[in-house]
Amino acid sequence: MNSTEAAQSIVAGLRDAGINFVATLPDINLAELLRAVEEERDFIHVPLCREEEGIGICAGAYLVGKKCAAIMQNGGFFNSNNAIVSTLLQYQIPLLLMIYFAGDVGDRTFGSTGSMTEPVLQALGIRYYVMRDSEDAPELIRRAQILAEDCRRPVALLLTKEVLGRRPALRSL
């Protein structure tokens, strides 16, 4: 899959999972995905200035009946931590966190950000899955949303360059 096809596949997965409200902040590796999100008429799309406000915006939308996803880079996930803890976890509010995994194995930049991503998710008790295979993406998104709704907590999907169609998958990863 190229990045355009991968983006369409992820957006189809979000739609099939019932997502209808999406907050985003760009990363160059998310460019195709965000373009596909913008074009999806079933989504209310909120472009953010800072990721933490997106946690609040999605929490508010959830309380009035929307099913929400927030798409950001892992640096933005770090920016969002106070809101994740004292709003999402404190009130038991589900949210699908779609986090671009900068500093993943083989990335030349953001090594420290990549190194701390999984430990911070673990420390917060947030279940997460590293997405590597474009073919599996829609089904994994659907399952992650079921998990988030049923446990009323955020669930994170780490978007690698492989799943975004920006480099070929390594079967052994």
């Binding site: 909120v46 953010l48 406000e53 609040g56 915006i57 929490a59 939308a61 309380l63 106070n82 009130y91």
Partner: protein, 204 residues
């Protein structure tokens, strides 16, 4: 310091708010609003700064309903970028009210940046919120709130208030109960289903 008190403004607002959903910032404003208008349509915010953002999510998700954000200066200063996002999304049903007492009232009354000249209404306007104004008296506040509630435009109202706290009861419920009551209130008043559970697997 201005002669106006926050609780007086909230009592005025409670007579005008109708069935608006109200999000209130971490701090005494939440307790005072609960005393002025007790309702399951009130949501208390615990993350400093997030009041305006939670209200924006509600306003976009439920465009037919009036949403009021009761914010503070310390809170808004922590999330100034929310003003630009509010202006960008322009929800017609959102009224953002900021009680500016120029101190972190719940954190030892240290001065905020508004006490040194930062102008929140100026910042809101510069972010792109055209209907942004200071209410300089109780009458101006009542008039601005009434116009916003009867109108259909994103509105930002700043009010300089004193640092007094009204003698009001503590907030009666915890965060999780607040969430469930709020959602059930929205379901009932909007005649919609938000929370549902699935049948056990044995029914498949």
């Amino acid at each position: 310091m201005g002669a106006m008190q926050r609780f007086d403004c909230l009592k005025t607002l409670s007579r005008l708010a109708g069935d608006a959903l109200v999000v209130s910032s971490a701090g005494a404003v939440t307790l005072e609003w609960n005393a002025a208008r007790p309702s399951d349509g009130n949501l208390r915010v615990r993350t400093l700064g997030l009041c305006s953002s939670i209200a924006l999510g509600m306003a976009l998700g439920l465009p037919q309903r009036k949403i009021i954000a009761l914010d503070g200066d310390g809170s808004l200063l922590m999330n100034l970028s929310s003003l630009a996002t509010l202006a960008r999304m322009k929800p017609k049903n959102l009224i953002h009210i900021v009680f500016d007492n120029e101190v972190y009232e719940a954190s030892g009354k240290k001065k905020t940046a508004t006490g040194e000249g930062a102008d929140l209404v100026g910042l809101a306007r510069a972010a792109g919120i055209q209907n942004a104004l200071w209410a300089g008296s109780a009458a101006e506040f009542a008039q601005a709130a009434e116009r916003a509630l009867n109108g259909a435009a994103l509105t930002f109202i700043g009010v300089k208030v004193g640092t007094e706290r009204a003698a009001v009861p503590p907030y009666p419920i915890d965060e999780v109960e607040n969430k469930y009551r709020f959602i059930r209130h929205v379901e009932k008043t909007e005649q919609m289903v938000i929370l549902s559970t699935n049948l056990p697997a044995s029914y498949d």
